[in-house]
């Protein structure tokens, strides 16, 4: 033996967890939803997802290498995840140049302008999505109909559940079962509640997330829309329709649980989840946008530092 020993403070062992393990874990959890999107939207889903991932990773690499002048960390999986989540939040016929702009907004503005992973206030994929929604409202709100497997940009578009709701066209709604499985229009990753819930179960099992954020969002939306439905069933759809439609599942399970932009204590997570649930419902029921999940999460991302400073973890021996 060389006559040299390592000396460092305790602990001397590490559990082996890593940022990339968590990021790739989330990506694995997104596989069922991706498979459903391929089944529903075929070529379009593949092109949009691949484009978003390539652009996000590329922009992250270029910005880290040439603007920030540090070692690129594209292998940690976070840029890939941002790309996949961005793709899941847009229609499957979105032109590639718009995806490139969205990726630049997500990585450049949403993440790197704050200093990179861990320092951003807002979820990068969400930043990209909202940037696109405001910049390209027409392209972002016309969704192809399910089942056109070999088309991409020229797919026939149709209405989504929430746009039908917003127009008051309750009679054209798909059945709850179709909504649960994914036979409805929408952004490419959000259509199947079943696939997204499978992803949630996987992440809970792997301890990547805890139940607090998604469950409190589901509960709040269910209760809030349930009350409104009871008050006026003709105007307000049933709470199950709200839970299964739009980006609620995708947002609650994969976007709101983003580590960096969500609170750290359990009580804080619940407050954050309730806030997202209330804001989403308010925007859906009373706002001019049919969907409110993105904005709700975005707003609560901004409130997270405040929640962190008021909602502390339960202290040993405390009240």
């Amino acid at each position: 033996m060389e006559n040299k020993l390592y000396v460092s403070p305790s602990p001397h062992i590490h559990g082996g967890d890593s940022i990339s393990k968590n990021m790739y874990g989330v990506l694995i959890a997104l596989v069922p939803a991706f498979l459903v999107s391929l089944y529903c939207f075929g070529l379009g889903a593949l092109i949009v997802t691949a484009a978003a991932v390539v652009f996000c990773v590329l922009f992250e690499y270029l910005i880290q290498k040439f603007l920030m002048k540090k070692e690129p960390t594209i292998c940690d999986g976070s840029a890939i995840l941002t790309g996949v989540l961005l793709a899941f939040n847009v229609p499957s016929n979105l032109p590639i140049w718009i995806i490139a702009i969205g990726s630049l907004a997500a990585i450049g503005i949403g993440k790197m302008s704050f200093g990179g992973l861990g320092n951003n206030i807002f979820n990068p994929a969400l930043t990209g999505r909202i940037f696109l929604l405001i910049s390209f409202p027409a392209q972002m709100t016309t969704w192809p109909e399910v089942g056109q497997l070999t088309t991409y940009a020229d797919a026939t578009t149709g209405a989504t559940v929430l746009s039908l709701l917003n127009e008051g066209a309750l009679d054209k709604m798909p059945t709850l079962c179709d909504m649960f499985l994914g036979k409805m229009g929408g952004s490419l990753g959000e259509v199947s509640a079943l696939a997204l819930l499978l992803g949630m179960v996987y992440m809970l099992w792997k301890k990547i997330i805890t139940w607090h954020i998604p469950v409190s969002i589901f509960a709040t939306v269910f209760v809030f829309t349930g009350i409104m439905h009871l008050v006026n069933p003709a105007q307000y759809a049933s709470p199950l329709v709200h839970l299964l439609s739009g980006g609620l599942m995708l947002g609650a399970i994969f976007m709101a649980t983003d580590y960096v932009t969500s609170p750290m204590s359990k009580s804080g997570m619940i407050v954050y989840g309730i806030g997202i649930g209330i804001l989403t419902t308010v925007i859906r029921l009373f706002g001019s946008y049919p969907e409110g999940m993105s904005f709700a999460i975005f707003i609560m991302n901004g409130v997270t530092p405040l929640i962190n400073s008021y909602m502390k973890p339960k202290h040993f021996g405390g009240k």
Partner: protein, 443 residues
Amino acid sequence: MLRTFRIGGIHPPENKLSAGKKITALAAPKQVIIPLSQHIGAPAQAVVKKGDLVKVGTLIAKAGGFVSANIHSSVSGKVNKIDNALDASGYRRPAIYIDVEGDEWEETIDRSETLVKDCTLSSKEIVDKIAAAGIVGLGGATFPTQVKLMPPPGSKAEIIIINAVECEPYLTSDHSLMMEKGEQILVGVSLLMKAVNVNKAVIGIENNKPDAIAHLTKLAASYSGIEIMPLKVQYPQGGEKQLIDAVIRRQVKSGALPISAGAVVQNVGTAYAVYEAVQKNKPLFERVVTVTGKAVANPSNLLVRMGTPINDLIEAAGGIPENTGKIIGGGPMMGKALISAEVPVTKGSSGVLLLTKEESVRKPMQDCIRCAKCVNVCPMGLNPAFLMKYTVYKDWDLAEANYIQDCIECGSCSYTCPANRPLLDYIRSGKGKVMGIIRSRKS
């Protein structure tokens, strides 16, 4: 369902390589180096000088204050010198060097193996004997035992809780002691109960030692008031506050002593030392030390005289492996990395762990992603990520308001962090600073 503490916790790989190995006595070395600071509190003061002849068990240093402990010679021979010596802390501090000649014990020590169950001493006499024998907490905290047995005025002990969880990975010294000295431990527990005048004691043992649980449960049937409680395996259950929470479902408040929850907690090894001191007149000069590591040829549980160089223990376990990167005094979670294998065994040495070079290197730190995994595992309900940040920014007010001083330094946060952040390194230094501020405010 098995009990455990209710906030946080982790379950690192147990790696109890030396489990089931019999305790073997290690012969005294040629020279022992006995540090005067082997306990928390004031260093002991030497009562021997160069050239003095001592026997095994001779008092060589007297307690240097209320919170301090006597120290006895672990060998017979001649005092070579009193000089600074490198100890586990990494500093050179005063120690007594004794050259070993023969193995002659003080006549007062009962060296027979017969079990002495009965004790007619009063509470005070028991405590005095414990103090005279220089017993300290053998779990690693090394707090002088007699001090814990004298509750401050106004507080009353209701229960003795014996810490036999041995939650640190690798270590098996307590486990082996329970298997081989079960009766003695139970007598020791009875003595502790008598010392603080309670009629109930619980020995908490983690469920990964079913043989020890079965063995002690069988023996405890003939001792009144002693219950064996199997606990769910969870680190850091050996933490005093965590163990109290697990066993009696009470959480000691921030800054309060365990006695405020009515509990006196003692390590199982301490209970054995109490038996030997009170019933056999044997002061604390030897202890069981686990020598272990994945590359160690022969992981063992050794009965070692205090002051024996760690090197001798490693030799007895098959020598130092080729690719050793780190030598740890204690377990992997809370032990201290030693800067040399010449460091002597002291009262707090529960184990010697050799890590390979690959196991010794920390991975590079990344930015915090606020995943809150450290929050989820912190057994004190703190936010380690924020405490580290407050320390970096030297914001001592916020650090104190967020209870940095409550950190028990278990290391669960650093162990868990996916970004490999050295959370505990920072928190430990911030805690030291804040404790200093709190002390200066009081005085």
